[in-house]
């Protein structure tokens, strides 16, 4: 949007100022009253010829005076003395107007009272234009013009801004509304985004949040996720560039989950919830559009997975037998946080028979063991999303998250004879060694346990990760509240 130099609107320092619109029945009702008030200045929002009979009648169809006077209702009558507002009244009330103007026999024959109408500044059709006019100057991003005959969605595909699905056009008004989701300044740098190591400002993240379809109240979550993903520990660069198919996933904890209407119940990892779907997508669009990470360029995934469009869900803290994941990772209770982690698509893990936690843990361990390759230990991270019906077994047995980790760690010590190259007729595996000591499937801290899902179904999910730890990617948790 071009930054227009607009003349500063003024009115007399002393006297009465009225703001009206012809479209308002109450304004038309008081037309003769206005004509009879001495020394009155009237700003007209729609019809410059209205109201008749007023000497100092001023065209405010551009609404500059209405905005400057912060008008919400018409008619509004404001008294100034020495350039300072002394008071204002809205709508029509004969008694009030008489007292306010000091004219006793005001509006003879008019009804005693009529409410006012909404100011034009409140109209939805002009609110957007006003937003851009008053705050558009704070935006720094390069403006793109889309020709009148160009289809907006097609134009955004053609310019390469999309992940293959349609995006919401990031008009200045939409970006400004998105920015209302945070108190942070638009030009503040959130992170340096790989692979091109480009600075993502709050504004650029907001633009991608618009593209993704986010609501403004999701923005703090997106900002925290971008901050978390662009750390050395998470290594979004490596995760992008690897030929392995994982991408960044986000799990959200704390009060913000409910505030923005996230889903942690049925189909928790699936489609259908706007916050879940668009927050994950916004992070991926930041990596694409700010960082320059595109498939078949620096994104070298051989296969990838559908969740690379965006993968975000919330933990069911209320139903969980465990403390929230974010708390187990050092975030104080009651605070909102995101944890980003490398993720393949989820793999369902059925056990509809086990009632003993020991038996169920063995099933879960079998599923975790399949990550990357059944015979390969120590390299790849993973996550386990425990469903309510599996969680119940551990709750009833009094197992907390630490206990389940301990049991799984024990069950995930791999027998060297099973994983040596050639064992089981499979060449893949670890080189033969003299030692017969069991080998842990995961590095210490190499898998997380989360809790979400619908109340029926004895099915949990394993989410494979990527190479864990230094050189690979480690999960990173960041608080959301600093981004509000």
């Amino acid at each position: 949007m071009p930054t227009e130099e607009r003349e500063t609107v003024t009115w007399p320092a002393d006297g009465l100022v009225a703001v009206v619109k012809q479209d308002c029945p109450t304004c038309r009702l008081v037309e003769p009253v206005l004509a009879g008030l001495p020394g009155l200045t009237v700003f007209t929002q729609d019809d410059p010829a209205f109201p008749a009979g007023v000497a100092d009648r001023r065209d405010d169809t551009d609404l500059d005076a209405s905005l400057a006077l912060d008008i919400e209702t018409v008619p509004t009558l404001v008294r100034f003395a020495g350039g300072v507002e002394q008071g204002r009244i809205v709508g029509w009330s004969r008694a009030q107007w008489a007292e306010f103007t000091g004219v006793a026999d005001l509006g003879e024959g008019l009804p005693e009272y009529r409410p006012g109408c909404g100011s034009r500044t409140q109209d939805p059709d002009v609110a957007e234009e006003i937003l851009v006019r008053t705050r558009g100057g704070s935006l720094r991003a390069r403006r793109l013009e889309i020709a009148a005959l160009e289809d907006e969605a097609e134009a955004l595909f053609d310019r390469g801004f999309t992940d293959g699905l349609p995006v919401v056009a990031p008009t200045p008004a939409r970006v400004l509304r998105m920015l209302e989701g945070t108190s942070r300044k638009p030009d503040e740098v959130v992170a340096v985004v790989p692979p091109n190591l480009a600075e993502a400002t709050v504004e650029k993240v907001a633009i991608n949040a618009v593209l993704a379809g986010c609501r403004p109240e999701y923005l703090p979550v997106v900002l925290a996720a971008v901050e978390a993903a662009c750390t050395d520990e998470f290594n979004a660069h490596g995760l992008l560039a690897t030929t392995w198919g994982a991408g960044p996933a986000i799990v959200v904890n704390g009060p913000i989950r409910g505030e923005i209407g996230m889903n942690w119940a049925g189909n928790a990892l699936g489609q259908g919830n706007r916050a879940n779907s668009t927050i994950g997508r916004a992070l991926q669009l930041v990596i694409r559009n700010v960082g320059g990470g595109r498939p078949q360029e620096v994104d070298r995934a051989a296969l990838g997975h559908p969740g690379k469009v965006g993968f975000c869900f919330a933990e069911d803290e209320e139903g969980s037998p465990f403390e929230p994941l974010a708390q187990s990772r050092g975030v104080p209770a009651g605070r909102s946080a995101v944890t980003v982690f490398a993720a393949e698509g989820p793999r369902g893990l059925a056990d509809q028979i086990s009632r003993a936690p020991e038996s169920l843990a063995r099933s879960l361990a079998q599923g975790l063991r399949s990550v990357c390759h059944w015979k390969l230990p120590g390299g790849f991270d993973a996550s386990l999303v425990l469903s309510p019906e599996h969680g119940r077994t551990f709750r009833e047995a009094g197992w907390d998250r630490a206990r389940l980790h301990r049991e799984l760690d024990e069950l995930l010590l791999l027998d060297r004879a099973e994983i040596t190259r050639g064992a089981g007729g499979i060449d893949e595996g670890v080189p033969a060694r003299a030692s017969d000591r069991p080998v842990p499937k995961f590095r210490p801290g190499g898998y997380m346990i989360m809790y979400a899902g619908g109340g029926a179904g004895m099915f949990s999910a394993v989410i494979g990760g990527w190479a864990g730890g230094p050189g690979g990617s480690a999960p990173v948790t960041r608080e959301v509240d600093p981004w509000r």
């Binding site: 692979p195 091109n196 660069h237 560039a241 320059g292 595109r294 360029e297 620096v298 070298r300």
Partner: protein, 73 residues
Amino acid sequence: MHDFVALEGRGVIAAFLASTQFVVAAEAQAKALGYREVPSVFVPHPIQDRTDDELRALADAALEEVLAAVTRR
């Protein structure tokens, strides 16, 4: 490619080395980092399943090109 840029920035002569599957990725990243052309050597793909002997053979075969890449300016 970032390593190449970092090394060059420190005055260390460098070349980019990868397998042929990474030509497009290298070009995209080099372009994004402001390089029109980076001295690069691409060895035959694949890499992951190579035996040590096969890798040595790849390295030997690439040596002349690598030397040329770091000496040609």
